[in-house]
């Protein structure tokens, strides 16, 4: 891993938000470093865009290939792109700016940065159904990644399950390559259309309506859609063998080789949380998101967020917000004044408005049902530590005030994923048990490292005289 010792702006993540931010900063001559955990740029939405074997444009579709010029812009910019590098810590540096801990390829190093743009994006919302930990159960996004990056598709029978437009997209993409899924179990609860109706006007005048209609039509043509699914269960011993689903109280079990789950995406907040940025509960999207202003600036000066990591709004909005974050960083560093920043932002701001219009409708329509966010019984909540819903609920009943105490009691959230796959579930289970809002329950308090680093790598980071003195070798306890 070749990492500069210092830079003006570090961008964490190379999805649309990160790419656009890095390009904007580099364009101005700011020393810009973009860290990418993946081997190639594109984040998840444009995963594998420089290496995908699925080169026929119509397979992955225009929305995917939209990312190609964005990556090309990064390549031709002066930004330093560092692949396979994870930012595991961001702390204030003495004398201003930040110290970013970066781990990659078996090494770790600290890099100074004047300004930090987090573009870590989103991850799939947890989908805790019975059996969701069985081999053979993966997320719909994971299936897409396998298609995009390796041209792999699961063997039939394959079932998609959950709610949200990604399911329709995956159904359509798979059909295009002759790997149509057997059915799509739609868990969108009845009545959602009515709930979403107040936002319909904005949706109907947004770019999403045409896309949505086309996508739905393709999905219907690609696979059998079963609507109103109330319960889902993945069944198997050593691996998945069947799926049982319930519609209108009647259960059906079908044999499957792969179950692809998806019920929306949520911001990946682990780094912003560990840094100490303020977060808020977004009741519409039922998740926590960092508190940011129109530029993406967080409550911590010098830390800005670009893209879905600040709140889910999709790839196009992420790209525009990346530009805004980049401009904000340039102004914060004093490289441009606010007048110039505002002038250069106009285009991106218009894009953000255009691409966030209509989201409220989509969010309301596809908000996952309680049954799939609030598991019961033996259903695993914390995959890493194998803690069940029953354990979490029982502990909440004993008066456990919140997720951090819960973590102390049960170890849920203490595994390597650091709560990414259980945090929201735990918060909502506690909220329901205590009869209060998730906003009042709060979330896990994260700490560095937010990405894995070995003991040896940690040991290789710089020490100081103070740190040596602090680690007492001989003392009376």
């Amino acid at each position: 891993m070749t990492l500069p010792a210092a830079c003006d702006v570090v961008v964490v993540g190379a999805g649309p938000g990160g790419l656009a931010a890095a390009v904007e900063c580099a364009r101005d001559g700011a020393a810009t470093v973009i860290l990418d955990e993946q081997a190639g740029p594109g984040g998840q939405i444009y995963r594998g865009i420089t290496t995908t074997p699925m080169q026929k444009r119509e397979v992955l579709g225009a929305d995917y290939w939209h990312g190609a010029p964005l990556v090309a812009a990064l390549r031709s910019s002066a930004a330093t792109y560092v692949p396979r590098a994870s930012a595991f810590a961001v702390t204030r540096a003495d004398g201003g700016g930040f110290e970013v801990g970066v781990a990659g390829d078996g090494a770790a190093a600290l890099m100074r940065a004047g300004h930090v743009i987090l573009a870590t994006g989103a991850l799939e919302r947890p989908f805790p159904i019975p059996g969701w930990t069985l081999p053979g159960v993966i997320t719909a996004g994971a299936a897409q990644i396998l298609l995009k990056s390796a041209g792999l598709v699961p063997e039939a029978p394959v079932v998609l399950a959950g709610t949200g437009p990604l399911l329709y997209l995956v159904a359509a993409q798979f059909a295009r390559v002759g790997a149509a899924v057997d059915c799509l179990l739609d868990t969108t609860p009845p009545g959602r259309l009515r709930e979403a109706f107040p936002h319909a006007a904005a949706f109907l005048t947004s770019p999403y309506v045409a896309k949505g209609v086309a996508l739905l039509r393709q999905a219907r043509a690609s696979t059998r859609i079963v609507r109103g699914v109330e319960r889902l269960e993945a069944i198997g011993g050593q691996r998945l063998t069947s799926v049982r689903y319930t519609v209108a109280g009647r259960a059906t079990e079908i044999p499957v080789r792969a179950l692809l789950l998806h019920q929306g995406v949520v911001p990946d907040i682990n780094l912003s949380n560990a840094i100490g940025c303020h977060h808020r509960w977004d009741d519409a999207q039922r998740c926590f998101a960092p508190v940011v202003d129109a530029w993406g600036a967080t409550s911590v000066a010098g830390i800005t967020i670009a893209g879905d990591g600040a709140g889910i709004a999709g790839a196009q909005a992420a790209e525009a917000r990346g530009t805004l974050a980049g401009l904000h960083a340039l102004a914060a560093l004093g490289r441009i004044d606010s007048g110039e920043r505002d002038a250069r932002a106009a285009n991106a701001q218009a894009h953000v408005a255009r691409w966030t219009r209509g989201r409220a409708f989509v969010d309301a329509l596809y908000r996952p049902a309680d049954a799939f966010r609030l598991p019961q019984g033996d259903t695993v909540v914390c995959r890493c530590e194998e803690i069940t819903a029953q354990q979490v609920i029982a502990t909440a009943k004993q008066g456990c005030p919140g997720p951090n105490q819960m973590k102390s009691f049960l170890r849920c959230g203490m595994g390597p994923c650091q709560g990414r796959l259980c945090g929201l579930t735990v918060t909502e289970l506690i909220a329901r048990e205590r009869g209060i809002a998730p906003a009042d329950v709060g979330y896990y308090r994260l700490r560095f490292p937010v990405k894995p680093i070995t003991l040896g790598e940690l040991a290789s980071l710089p020490q100081t005289t103070e740190s040596t003195q602090a680690v007492v070798r001989m003392k009376a306890h």
Partner: protein
């Protein structure tokens, strides 16, 4: 149980690796996780807590279920690591073993 689409098979460069000691022709550019799935392994490990079988779930580096031993180093996130010629991939049984614990036979602890 995954199959390779013709577009991906065509022009693919083979990279020889071993999986649990067995030789396997991986595809250059695949991650180790994709390689395991393509080779027919749904599960790449058993968990330390209950020895439950697990396989890759998110494929994007956040779930930590895709862990396996690569070139003798345990707990590697296979979905983030590109496959390389000569790579030794082993499915991981339970917790990672280091030092004196690695020398002894794997147990269920």
């Amino acid at each position: 149980m995954y199959r390779r689409l013709p577009d991906a098979a065509a022009g693919a460069r083979a990279v020889m690796v071993t999986i649990d000691g067995q030789a396997f022709a991986a595809r250059d550019g695949d991650t180790v996780a994709a390689t395991l799935l393509a080779a027919g392994y749904d599960a790449c490990r058993t968990t330390p807590v209950t020895s439950a079988p697990r396989g890759p779930y998110c494929l994007m580096g956040v779930c930590f279920d895709c862990l396996a031993v690569i070139d003798g180093r345990p707990n590697q996130q296979t979905c983030l690591i590109p496959v390389r010629a000569g790579m030794r991939i082993e499915r991981q049984q339970g917790a990672a073993a280091f030092g004196p614990a690695a020398a002894s036979a794997p147990d269920s602890r």
